[in-house]
């Protein structure tokens, strides 16, 4: 399996709520990658819903790979509440199956919903929950086994 190097949660208004990376001293680089991937997310979401009559209608929250890059594979997912999850993986020769990526995003989404159940969290605020952080850390660790 490939290593997840970055997980980001982006608000409905497209500002970052949470960015976690496993690569030391690369915060800025990954913030930038997440930021540029948002344009692609918007494209995918609006293109598909404009052509909504018929087969190109977006049927799921998982967006698949967002755009090709030399170093990384970047995947996206948008909840019905317009919160975006971006997962960045090392671009090795192997590739992650759709099923595996969907499962990863579903777990992220569950973690986000659990966060909303925390009375100390206000939607739209920075995510500082240790529980959320631990869940993401273990998801990132599991993926590299």
């Amino acid at each position: 399996a490939m290593a997840v190097v970055c997980v980001a949660v982006v608000s409905k208004e497209n500002y970052p709520l949470y960015v976690k990376t496993t690569v030391p001293d690369s915060d800025l680089k990954f913030h930038y990658l997440v930021h540029t991937s948002l344009d692609v997310v918007e494209e995918k979401v609006s293109f598909l819903s404009e052509h909504a009559r018929g087969s190109s209608e977006r049927r799921e929250l998982y967006l698949g790979q967002l755009y090709p890059s030399e170093e990384y594979k970047i995947y996206g997912y948008v909840t019905n509440t317009k919160v975006k999850f971006v997962v960045i993986m090392e671009n090795t020769n192997s590739y992650a199956k759709d099923n595996e990526m969907k499962a990863l995003f579903k777990k992220l989404h569950s973690a986000y919903y659990n966060l909303l159940r925390n009375p100390y969290y206000t939607p739209g605020h920075q995510i500082q929950s240790k529980m959320f952080d631990q869940t993401v850390a273990s998801l990132m660790q599991q993926s590299s086994k």
Binding site: K12, V45, S49, A52, E57, R58, R59, E60, L61, V78, T79, N80, T81, K82, H109, S110, Y112, Y113, L116, R117, T122, P123
Partner: protein, 158 residues
């Protein structure tokens, strides 16, 4: 695990009672409505996330409203909205002929004044849920005749 819906009913009634009494004496109805609406808003934001977690993306605004009238209403009040009308220009009227929170109140006009307070939290919940899925709006609450009521959603121009 589902909890019996009477727990929510009881909890809500107690919230209204406690907030009405306030810290230093009784709160005005206006203040009470505002507080209840605020509470409902945050609950709506959270609950809609749960309801839409495993659902396909919404196609359009009408799709959202239909979802609210069916699945969302069912998950909160154990029944669907009885009637949905729209002018197709951003105004939607949701009619519930037997509103869950009026269930134990007498059908005559005896409690109509108090009953309005019981729509504040639900109105807020509706507004919070809609805002979370991208439909910013105002929500008006009206009791037609107990136990029937209407929620009027006016989508704000973006």
């Amino acid at each position: 695990a589902e909890i019996p819906d009477s727990v929510f009913e009881l909890l809500h009634a107690e919230i209204v009672r406690v907030l009405k009494n306030g810290k230093d004496g009784s709160r005005s109805n206006t203040e009470l409505k505002l507080k209840l609406e605020e509470m409902g808003y945050r609950v709506g934001q959270g609950w809609i996330e749960k309801c839409t977690k495993d659902r396909a993306p919404f196609k359009d605004e009408l799709d959202v409203m239909k979802f609210v009238c069916k699945e969302f209403w069912m998950s909160v009040y154990n029944k669907q909205v009885d009637n949905l009308r729209t002018n197709h220009q951003g105004v939607y009227v949701l009619q519930d002929n037997k509103f869950h929170f009026f269930g134990q109140m007498s059908s005559t006009a005896q409690y109509t004044d108090e009953a309005h307070m019981y729509m504040a939290f639900p109105g807020g919940m509706l507004r919070g849920a809609l805002a979370a899925v991208g439909v910013n709006c105002t929500v008006g609450c009206e009791i037609t005749s107990m136990p029937a009521c209407k929620f009027t959603i006016s989508v704000l121009p973006s």
